[in-house]
């Protein structure tokens, strides 16, 4: 297929976005993550399909590659629409540095729309990552302008592991985890999770539900349970040291 007048080859099952980034063509996106699959909610990755069965603007993260497709990622029509998309997002979340940066790149200083004081752009990365881990502690509620991401019944989550994956993936920094003494707090999910202390150095490091989850999977080595990674290295060391001292006495 042809992207920006450049002929490229792509793997059969990939999407336009994946094929383009594999060739080094940058298409901005906010809601795409390689491990979580296409979603198509932020609409920033818009590209124009010039020929084919459905010519027009499409989200490149959800559009599968086809033989002989002609795509433009940076023409005036694409840029104009993308600018409006980012401007709307900027009006929704004026404090997000990532969206601010994206807007700057597209030449938008301030949005023309009324500013809202939101931080979430409803990209669904947190919902999808939690589903991927198999916990499903958060989801979308309501529709239209009332749509938001929250825990079931907007109550503190009973199943959250405190793994922080949602916070790391959030493009706008709407989800923040804070470790205070022995608690890991998430304001957005109104949840606080107890942290277990390392049994050797007593540093609080391990969210209790996460430990139960890992125990169920039977992947923890018994002598390592309750040890932080630094103390795990040390305990390995003392085991090796005892082997060494035995050897030298032979």
């Amino acid at each position: 297929m042809i992207v920006n007048n450049q002929e490229i080859e792509a793997k059969e099952d990939s999407t336009l976005l994946q094929a383009a980034s594999a060739m080094g063509i940058v298409i901005p996106t906010l809601c795409f993550h390689e491990a979580l699959g296409p979603h198509g909610s932020c609409r920033v990755c818009l590209v124009e399909i010039v020929n084919g069965a459905r010519p027009g603007l499409v989200a490149s993260c959800t559009y599968p590659v086809e033989e002989g497709l002609v795509v433009e990622t940076n023409n005036t029509k694409v840029l104009k629409t993308r600018r409006i998309m980012v401007e709307l997002l900027l009006a929704r979340c004026p404090d997000s540095t990532k969206i601010r940066g994206l807007a700057n790149d597209l030449g938008i200083a301030e949005p023309r729309f009324d500013k809202e004081n939101e931080s979430c752009i409803l990209c669904g990365l947190c919902v999808r990552v939690c589903r991927e881990i198999g916990i499903n502690s958060v989801g979308f509620i309501q529709r239209g302008t009332n749509r938001e991401v929250t825990t079931p019944f907007q109550k503190p989550s009973e199943v959250c592991l405190g793994c922080q994956a949602c916070a790391f993936l959030c493009p706008t920094g709407a989800i923040k985890f804070e470790d205070v003494a022995e608690e890991r707090k998430v304001e957005k999910w109104k949840t606080s999770i107890k942290l277990q202390r390392c049994s050797s150095c007593s540093r609080p490091f391990f969210p209790e539900p996460l430990q139960l989850y890992l125990k169920e999977k039977e992947l923890l080595v018994p002598e390592n349970i309750g040890l932080c990674e630094v103390c795990r290295r040390k305990s390995l060391g003392s085991r090796l040291a005892s082997i060494l001292s035995r050897k030298s006495t032979v």
Binding site: L219, E229, R232, R233
Partner: protein, 167 residues
């Protein structure tokens, strides 16, 4: 298949391997440029002091790796052809479960950073940086057969010099 072996008796705890590892994983790959980079490049090998003994440890690239088993996103996978546990930054979702399950504690991540750091056995090099930098040969990059051969030779040498000494 070549692997990084640790000669426990030889390590002096100089941490040259830690330094070389961090420099190798910096953008500039020279020490003086690396110390001014943000974020600072991080080491993947750790020299530990326990009971008066020192030893370096990095990812052992386990055959049945718990980190690969727990990784839901497929960011950690085992490359059988090179016998390595590899990590893809793009696929990583930052759940940090690999840090918790690693039996050796050699997968780390800094507070507030999403992606983990672990030994990739220096993809751009023939010999890993830690092995090359070790001044006493405590880290050896070789295969099992070669290692045994060196051990046998060492014993014979000791016998010839006079007296038997376990090496």
């Amino acid at each position: 298949m070549k692997d990084v072996f640790i000669e426990l008796e030889k390590c002096q705890g100089c941490k040259s391997c830690e330094l070389a590892c961090a420099v190798e994983h910096s953008k500039a790959k020279t020490l003086f440029a690396a110390i001014s980079e943000t974020p600072l490049p991080r080491k993947r090998v750790f020299v530990e002091y326990v009971d008066g003994k020192r030893f370096p440890i990095q990812c052992r690239h386990c055959e049945e790796a718990p980190c690969v088993a727990i990784c839901v996103s497929g960011a950690l996978s085992r490359d059988e052809s090179r016998a390595l546990v590899t990590h893809s930054k793009e696929r990583c979702i930052g759940c940090g479960m690999c840090v918790m399950v690693c039996p050796f504690g050699v997968i780390t991540r800094e507070m507030g950073s999403k992606v983990i750091t672990k030994c990739d056995r220096c993809k751009d090099r023939d010999e890993p940086a830690c092995v090359e930098s070790c001044p006493v040969g405590a880290l050896v990059f070789t295969d099992m057969e070669e290692l045994e051969k060196t051990r046998r030779r060492g014993v014979i040498k000791n016998v010839l010099i006079g007296g038997f000494k376990a090496s």
